[in-house]
Amino acid sequence: MKAATASFARDAAAARRLSIVLVCCCTLSGAAAQVLMKVAMASFAPNLVAIVTNWMLMAGYALYGLNTLLMVLALREGELSMLYPIIALTYVWVTLLSYTLLREPPNAFKNVGIALIVIGVAVLGRGEKK
């Protein structure tokens, strides 16, 4: 991963594309972390042993760590003003996961909202290629 990052850095356009891919991976791990946290919180008990042995909570934290790592690698290559808004893709994955895994009822607000986020991200990604 790191070697690949370094070699891509020579080509500015490729570096920007890589940064977008990295941030998209970051939103996937962020969404997985949020869903894990939410499920884990259902069985939350306020004592240290219960917290440490709650594997979903721990997996959630681990994914947040991975998340930060991916974000840093992305920021190394690309612009903050372009990459940061793309993190909103997390809302799209979380909403879709909550529909399918958590069986939350879909509604029009959420559906239109995630569609707008996807279009917004597409606009940002396209603008970067020039």
């Binding site: 790592l69 840093v72 372009m82 995630i114 603008g127």
Partner: protein, 109 residues
């Protein structure tokens, strides 16, 4: 509400310091242990504390739009600290994303 507003500002500075720190990351994995990245992560953790305290006493539908203010702060900091160009595409893309986040928040009630 003030807490969530604070969370959005603190979180946006978290992003700024991650960007500062990212510039110092090299092929050496130890380069991840630099003070700016550490500060960025600390600011993120701090903002999540403010956020959790904030949503304990507030309506989620108002809080979501406030959190998305963080996107606007970050755009301003990107301009000031990293001299990034704010193009029409960025404003359009961010506008659509903000609208989408607000709608998702309204649907999450």
């Amino acid at each position: 509400m003030a807490l969530v507003l604070a969370a959005s500002v603190v979180g946006s500075f978290g992003a700024v310091f991650l960007k500062f720190g990212a510039a110092r990351v090299t092929r050496n994995p130890l380069s991840f242990l630099n003070s700016r990245l550490a500060l960025g992560v600390a600011l993120y953790l701090g903002s999540s504390v403010f956020y959790f305290l904030g949503i304990r006493g507030g309506q989620l539908s108002i809080l979501y739009p406030l959190v998305s203010l963080g996107y606007i702060w970050t755009l301003v900091w990107a301009r000031i600290f990293f001299h990034e160009a704010l193009t029409r595409q960025k404003f359009l893309g961010l506008g659509l994303i903000l609208l989408g986040v607000v709608l998702v928040g309204m649907g999450a009630k």
